[in-house]
Symmetry: C2
Subunit: 242 residues, 2 copies
Amino acid sequence: MNVDPSRSISNEAQPAYLQIKNFVLNKIQSGEWQEGHLIPTELALCEQFSVSRMTVNRALRELSNDGLLVRIKGSGTYVAQPKYQSTLIEIRSIAQDIRERGHTHRSQVISMNRLKATAKQAKAYAIPTGATLFHSVIVHLENQIPIQYEDRLVDASMAPDYLEQDWSHTTPNEYLTRVAPLPKGFYTIEVQIPNAEIARALQMKANEPCLVLNRTTYSGGHFTSFARMWHPGDRYKFAGRT
Amino acid sequence: MNVDPSRSISNEAQPAYLQIKNFVLNKIQSGEWQEGHLIPTELALCEQFSVSRMTVNRALRELSNDGLLVRIKGSGTYVAQPKYQSTLIEIRSIAQDIRERGHTHRSQVISMNRLKATAKQAKAYAIPTGATLFHSVIVHLENQIPIQYEDRLVDASMAPDYLEQDWSHTTPNEYLTRVAPLPKGFYTIEVQIPNAEIARALQMKANEPCLVLNRTTYSGGHFTSFARMWHPGDRYKFAGRT
DNA sequence: TAGTGGTCTAGACCACAGC
DNA sequence: CTGTGGTCTAGACCACTAT
C-alpha cells in the first residue's frame, strides 16, 4: 500500500500521520510552501496518501498546534507566519540542573519567617491586604560554591506548611510545584547590582553585577509565589537548546 | 447524552475531548492524582463519558504530548513528573518586540563583510575550514535609543544574498527565518562587560554590565548563524509570561 | 450551495507489558 | 494469555467560508 511516490521523505516504518507531517514539514522547510500558502485540503491528502481523513486530520492538527499551520474552518489550511522568529528557552529548577551536571547541590537557609501582606503586595498579587505570607531566603550551592540567592514570598493559603519543610532535601521550587501544580505566571531576566548582603552570601566582590530571574507564579488562577533569584554574573549563565 | 455527573468541570458546549482533558487536569491540579498515579484506562473513560475510544485517546494523547501524562503501551497511563519545575520563556525578535510596544524600531548597520571560516569556527559550527561566512554588526534602536548591539556570523551557503539586504526594512533574524526556516540550536544568557566599542554604540557608561543573549542556530541540521546580542543592563530586560 | 475543517463513532489490527 | 495503548478506517453530522 505504501507505494505513493509523494511519500518520499519517510521510511515506510513510520506511522502514516507522521509521514504526512514530515511531508508538510519538508515543503515548508524547503521553502516550497511559504508563509500564507494554501496547502492541499484534507480530502486531497487522503487521496494522495491513501489514508482516511482522521489520519490526515491528526497530522495537520498537530502541525497547527505547533504553530506551523493555521487552519480556518470553511476556508482551508495555510502555512503560518514563522513565529519561530522567537526563541523558546527553558529555565530549569536549579537543584535539578546542578544534579544533572553531576554536581552536588546544597541549600543554606538564611531566613524563614511569616509576615502580613502590605497594601502594595496585596494589589500586586491580587490577594487580601494582611493575608499571611511566608518569606524565605535560601542560598543554593553547587559543589559548595554559592550560585543562587533565592528571595521568595509565598502565599500561606497555598502552602500552609511551608515553614516546616526540610530544605536540605527539597527546594522551594520543588515543594511548590507539588502543592500548587501547573504554575503559570510572569518572569523577567535582568542585570542588577546586588546589595552588600547578597554579594556576601554569593561570595562576590563588591559592585559585581548579578544575573537576576524574577518570577511570579499562579496555580489555578491563585497567586502562589514571587521569587527573585540572584546569580553571580561572573560564574553563572542560563543555557540550553531549543 | 451529557448527563454524566463526573463531567462536572465543563460547560456542555465544550467538545467531549476537551471535557475529558479538563477532567484529568482538575484531578492533577487538585492533587487527587499525584505523580505516578495510574489513571483510568481509555476504555474506562469511554464508559464514564459515553464516548468512543478515539475521543478519549485524543484527550489523553494531547495531555501526554504536553508532558502531563506518561503513556506506556501494554501498561497504562500515569501522571508524569511535574517537569513544570522548569520555566519556559520566549525570547522574541527584537524588532517585533519593539513594534508591539507601539515604539519605533530602527537599525544602524555598523559593519557588514565577508570572511573565511577559521579552523576554530569550522570545528565549532561543523562547516568546512575556509567556508565563506558573512559578518554583520547592527545596532537596534527603540525610539532612537540603542538597546541591542547584534554581532552576527552567517553561513553564506545558507543565505547567499545576506550582504544585499535592505536592513532598514528587515532584521537579520527576520531574513534568516525566511531563508532558513524552523531554526533549532543553542543559547546562553549571561552578564558581560562590553568593550569600549560596544559600550559606545549602546551609549553606555564605561564598565556598565550588559545582558547578553548568545544564540547558535541550525536549519535542517545545517549551521545557519551565530549571534551575540548585547543589551544595556540598566535599561533592558527579557520579560514575558509562561 | 459547495467545499472546508472540527468533531465524533464503532468498529479493527497491532505491539507490548505483566501475569 | 489478557489488558493496555498506538494507530487506522469509512463513514457521519456540524459550523463556517466563499461564491
